[in-house]
Symmetry: C2
Amino acid sequence: MADLAKVAGVSAITVSRALRDSPLVNAETRARVRDVAQQYGYAFNVSARNLKLRRSMTVAVVVEMKPTVERQMSGPYPLDLLGGITQELTSTGYSVLLTSLQGGALPNVRAADGVILLGQGAHEDAMHEVQRWGRPMVVWGAVSRHESQIVVGSDNRRGGALAAERFIALGRSRPAFLGDPAHGEFAERLEGFSTALARHGITPIAPTVSSFTVGAGADAVHALLQAHPQVDALFAASDLLAIGAIRALIERGRRVPEDVSVIGYDDSPLGATYVPPLTSVHQNFIDAGVLLARKVRALIEGEDAVSETLPTHLVVRTT
Amino acid sequence: MADLAKVAGVSAITVSRALRDSPLVNAETRARVRDVAQQYGYAFNVSARNLKLRRSMTVAVVVEMKPTVERQMSGPYPLDLLGGITQELTSTGYSVLLTSLQGGALPNVRAADGVILLGQGAHEDAMHEVQRWGRPMVVWGAVSRHESQIVVGSDNRRGGALAAERFIALGRSRPAFLGDPAHGEFAERLEGFSTALARHGITPIAPTVSSFTVGAGADAVHALLQAHPQVDALFAASDLLAIGAIRALIERGRRVPEDVSVIGYDDSPLGATYVPPLTSVHQNFIDAGVLLARKVRALIEGEDAVSETLPTHLVVRTT
DNA sequence: TTGAAAGCGCTAACAA
DNA sequence: TTGTTAGCGCTTTCAA
């Protein structure tokens, strides 16, 4: 910058201002500085700015990417979420630092101006962990679980209720829920599901399924049919689980949807293209990502932000 | 650091060294400094280090996350790739800066010590774009296309050959390839496919399909059957395309696999759980991510790195 | 094994 | 509208 200043015949601070489009600098001067910068291939030094400004213009996004059995963040969802976040953040000069829970130890991550946590984890353990990092934080997960935190999530209760209402409309009377209520989002889905069913005097069976794989869904349904052969409707906490469930149903000679109705969650391409095409509760992950990004940014910039619930709707297909 | 130095009764530079585990500092001194740092909740300032060292300890990963029709990076693959990259990079102190092609303008991205590009784009346009950023770069894509670049990719030619060999073994004689050779990886798959078939005197039909959606696959197959009703084997450049193809085949009254064999690419969960379960060429994205990470790191640290091809294998299922 | 001095490149505060 | 001064927090000489 000092060199540019010399060449352009101004002071370093003027160069700094020109490059930042400060209104304090004459349009002509700015143009000249910019030209010179261009011409000499000047490269701005972010570290120096960050040092001076005490910020990093960086938001850490915590995702669990490890291939684990209990892999909630598989499929295209986190990528959509990440897409929304990245789009919104980069359009305002922030960068996205991708990290896992373990990454909290990295200096770069510690220096992030804010954190977005994707998935609060079973029993909110991930959330508590990240909270210890002491940065402005926004979470994607179950909104109802945390008054004290800023959480963006889709309306899981409504999602559950939609599934229940659909089953009622179809005349089903022995529904089951497949999922693990230890995860706040799933607990909300079950709550909405149960509450809506209760209005019709129905209590769902709810075996805990703590993996999110096709296999887990199939196993759970095999066990379920053994204990409750009269089940006629299955609401799964994810499309993957629903697909496993359908497989098990067919293996046991039940027809879908004639004998048993099945509703999944997430409206994933996997479910949409499955045979039979899966009825599923839809959530818009890209919008969610944008919203998460706006909220951390607000927090970082000292404004306040509130939790928010995104609408959800049922996509009726064959099952 | 200066404050810590005072409290610990040493100089700032000693604190610096102690915190970095420098061998130049006495073990006792180090322990004392660390204790004090811990106790006072000292937070290391990355920007200052980066300013001094002229590096950012950051690697930009360029992914196309925008929801476009031609969305090569959909599905779980990029997340696996990202998982492998993140795991490897963070274990050596680097952070992952997630960005898109447009993100190249961001100061943080420009400051990255290296770049990993996921997918070279049609006609390698993405690659040329990123190359202009002037940073050490490693690309995930078609290895054979670029002598001058460091590319990691799976063995697409072998993948194509595996599909061809399978068709031959099944006695198929009128195969087609579905995909867009403008993308280097797909061109390689087609090359391997054609070459292996040529050994049996067979030339595949290869209509260009430039979208990567289920719908595109279906449309392409409808058109294909119109022109070439005798087709008895379909090799698709992705599982999504293969699934669309199967749908169209069934709509036209062909049985899979009795009348027409279908092989997809990527071995995605979507394909594996599809009905009928899709035969597909498998690639290991996590390993690939780790490899990409190692190679940029080598480049950044002044070592040299070479392009590398990862093995590929056929997962035979029903189709 | 420890320390003193100097400076990385930027911008805020204050002057002119 | 422009410039001067100072300093953000770290690490690399070089010296002790």
